[in-house]
């Protein structure tokens, strides 16, 4: 009964083939939901809210808050018993390998295999002005107690800052003969970031630079899966630490050198 022992062992009841939400009793399926509706509150919209919950698969939905927001809107907080479940044993997720190398090991690896510093170009692109994230990865100072990539002898870092258009970025990638391009996207409303990232991939492919660079993106709403879908080589989400990125770049660069695509 240790902290990291799964509930399955303790309650000897969790069926990993059918994992569903847990409120206070195994199998209760309890889920909390909130949303607004573009209709005023009242018996009919209460029933509408309830039916939406039922459609979501919530049995016995309990409406705990119903508020008329005025001007034809209402807000709802509902709890219900979710009848869905997932077979966790069948889940396979594409994921980045865990960090394996230390600061020194990364530098040593690059020194040994590349015999030079890898050139890294970073930017926060489009109209995005949120540099804190990319700076956390690149700047000396780093993030969460880890040094940023500038501190690594293994890398030569060019941080282009914010609001960099894909044109200018591409130009720099060419001029600097970048080994890796690191793009940050924080503003995601109406999926602006997706278009912007996809455009970069297209442009880089059009210039036949694709196989020369490692294409990396990051930001709080970025995931490795999304990055792969967009044609990037890796994606890093919220809370990424610099070493994770350094490790990936170093090892991936070496891997490609050894067995080119």
């Amino acid at each position: 009964m240790k902290r990291d022992e799964p509930a399955s062992r303790i309650l000897s009841g969790v069926d990993l083939h059918k994992v569903g939400p847990y409120g206070d009793t195994l199998g209760d399926g309890l889920v909390q939901v909130s949303f607004s509706l573009p209709v005023p509150s009242g018996p009919e919209s209460r029933e509408a809210a309830r039916r939406l919950a039922v459609q979501m698969g919530l049995e016995e939905p309990q409406i705990y808050k119903e508020a008329d927001l005025g001007y034809g809107f209402s807000f709802w907080i509902i709890y219900g018993k979710c009848r869905h479940n997932v077979d966790v044993t069948r889940i396979v997720v594409p994921k980045l390998e865990a960090v394996q190398l230390s600061f020194d090991e990364i530098n040593d690896l690059v020194a040994a295999e590349a015999g030079r510093r890898l050139r890294i170009v970073g930017a926060c692109t489009g109209t995005d002005a949120h540099t804190v994230g990319i700076d956390a990865i690149l700047n000396m100072k780093g993030f969460a107690g880890e040094y940023g990539l500038e501190r690594y002898p293994a890398f030569e870092v060019f941080n282009l800052g914010s609001q960099v258009s894909n044109d200018i970025l591409l130009q720099k990638v060419r001029d600097l003969k970048a080994d890796a391009v690191l793009v940050s996207q924080v503003v995601t409303q109406k999926d602006v970031h997706l278009g912007n990232l996809a455009e970069l991939v297209d442009m880089i492919e059009a210039e036949s630079l694709r196989k020369d660079v490692l294409l990396v993106c990051g930001g709080p709403r970025i995931s490795h899966e999304v990055a792969l879908e967009l044609g990037f080589d890796a994606g890093f989400g919220a809370g990424t630490t610099p070493r994770l990125v350094a490790d990936w770049i170093a090892r991936e660069w070496v891997r490609r050198k050894v067995l080119p695509a």
């Binding site: 009964m1 902290r3 309650l11 409120g23 206070d24 009793t25 705990y64 808050k65 907080i77």
Partner: protein, 534 residues
């Protein structure tokens, strides 16, 4: 034994010490009265508790506890007023059986339950004392184990964060309790199934079916204590276990708590009278025994005056809470409890939309700390004005968390955003603990830094409440506590001397009433007092 001593902040309310002293005087008189009343009585549950101290455990074939079966026989024989211990000791002496086996034999009619002959009296007393002192040994062991745990692991900073588990299933509860411990809980209370306080027996065995809570049983106590010991090791901090010494089985619950190393128990006759309609003679009598057990076992008791504000208005009735704290304090001290064992209850229950409510709540909380500087107090979160709006609830609880650190409370019950809805879901507590921990850290020294304007709203409010508490206490002293309960002075609820449940289980002690546990408790309490003195 560990002591819940907190650094007391400098007083800030400029309260009149004379009025406080007069409150204590009145409460002392009220308590003396109750004490006198209880001293002359015993109850079925006290007698069952005595048997438990003497080593009787388990149930019959129908899972009815043996202690109930044995005491019922004594009641049937019309001998309750003499107590059960001598008769039982005599049975043990005659049979040579272990206490539980002897009890089973009695229940099955294989052994008689009759008082010793006059010439066997002394021998029976010897056996009774021996058995009781074996119980006392177990309690001493529990106390030592707790002390060692705390010495070795500590238990974290004040206020002690207190959460409840209440799934109804003890196994589920243990996992949830461990999750709480990891998230920062320092006291875990297992809430009892709804009707348990009305049961005139303690259910037997590990249980997995309860409503609004999990049955309090000796087996469940043990299972949960073991789980929390594991969690304590995992988190490197001793996590206390709390349950209820309350309801019709109050004395037995206290006893089981003492034996199974619980650390904290809710214990308040007034709660049972007002909110459970338990007969006042019964439960006030039971309470004296239970508090002595708690005193002996180094348990912290939590009292329940916070509950008054669930039926009365928190602004209007704040003084009733304070008055009740004075009474509970005096009764507890009479029973041998030390101030550091008193988690006197109070709560933040004002309408959150009332102007300056935050100031009044600060005044009340600060006042309680200043008047009971050596007691940890038990500070209850907003519950009454919580709604189904969990997002609003988080805010109400945040304000409460802040008042708690700001006024240096000792035991801080965590408010749950889902209070108005259900007993907590597993993450409700984690989120609540995170909020409380964040606020304790962020406002760590707020209490040290803040002073209140002399004669301002906060000070005036506190003085007002104190003055009204004095008036009320003097009325209660004049009417007697029984009278005051009959006239609805607390929680807007009236209860009569002979009404409610459980009166039939009370007996006026016969001349020759005796039990060995009273003596053992005196000893244990004296030992504890010596330790405090050191």
């Amino acid at each position: 034994m560990s002591f819940l001593t907190e650094r007391l902040m400098e007083p800030k309310l400029d309260l009149d010490p004379d009025i406080i002293a007069r409150c204590r005087d009145a409460a002392g008189a009220i308590s003396a009265d109750v004490q006198r009343f209880a001293a002359g009585r015993t109850s079925v549950s006290i007698e069952r508790a005595v048997l438990r101290w003497m080593g009787v455990e388990g149930g019959d074939a129908d899972c009815i506890p043996l202690v109930n079966r044995v005491v019922d026989l004594q009641v049937k024989s019309g001998l309750l007023s003499h107590g059960v211990s001598l008769a039982f000791a005599e049975a043990v002496r005659n049979s040579g059986l272990s206490p539980s086996d002897a009890a089973m034999a009695i229940v099955e009619g294989r052994l008689a339950l009759v008082g010793p002959d006059p010439d066997a009296m002394e021998a029976a007393r010897v056996v009774a004392r021996l058995l009781a002192s074996q119980g006392a040994e177990r309690v001493r062991r529990a106390v030592r184990t707790r002390s060692r745990f705390i010495e070795r692991l500590g238990e974290g900073s004040r206020p002690l964060l207190y959460v409840i588990v209440a799934s109804g299933n003890i196994l589920e509860d243990t996992v949830q309790a461990k999750v709480c411990a990891q998230a920062g809980a320092q006291i875990v209370a297992v809430i009892r199934s709804t009707a348990q306080s009305l049961l005139d027996y303690v259910p037997e065995g590990a249980t997995t079916e309860g409503f609004g809570g999990t049955y309090a049983t000796q087996a469940n106590f043990r299972i949960m204590r073991t789980a929390l010991d594991e969690a304590s090791e995992d988190v490197g901090r001793y996590v206390r276990l709390c349950n209820y010494a309350s309801g019709l089985c109050m004395p037995e619950m206290a006893t089981l708590g003492a034996l199974e190393r619980l650390d904290v128990m809710l214990n308040d006759a007034l709660y049972g009278i007002l909110f459970r309609d338990i007969n006042m003679q019964r439960t006030l009598t039971d309470q004296v025994f239970s508090r002595r057990v708690s005193a002996a076992a180094g348990l912290i008791i939590n009292t329940g005056e916070d509950n008054y504000l669930t039926t009365s208005d928190a602004f209007e009735a704040a003084h009733t809470v304070l008055a009740s704290e004075f009474i509970n304090e005096q009764i507890a001290l009479c029973c041998g409890l030390k101030p550091h064992q008193l988690g006197l209850g109070h709560a933040m229950q004002m309408n959150p939309f009332r102007e300056d409510m935050f100031l009044y709540e600060v005044a009340q909380a600060q006042m309680a700390r200043e008047i009971f500087p050596d007691s940890p107090l038990k500070y209850m979160p907003p519950t009454k004005h919580m709604t189904g709006d969990i997002f609003r609830g988080q805010v109400q609880d945040a304000l409460f968390n802040l008042v708690s650190v700001m006024t240096g409370q000792g035991i801080h019950l965590l408010g749950m955003m889902t209070e108005a809805m259900h007993t907590p879901h597993i993450h409700d507590r984690v989120l609540a603990l995170e909020s409380a921990r964040m606020i304790s850290t962020a406002a760590r020294h707020l209490g040290d830094e803040v002073r209140f304007v002399p004669g301002g709203r906060v000070q005036t409010r506190a003085r007002d409440v104190l003055a009204r508490a004095l008036t009320l206490l003097q009325q209660v002293r004049d009417e007697g506590l029984f009278g005051a309960l009959a006239s609805g002075r607390f929680a807007d609820i009236k209860r009569s001397m002979d009404g409610g449940r459980g009166l039939e289980g009370v007996a006026v002690k016969a001349e020759d009433y005796w039990n060995p546990v009273d003596e053992v408790l005196d000893e244990l309490i004296a030992e504890g007092a010596k330790e405090v003195a050191q």
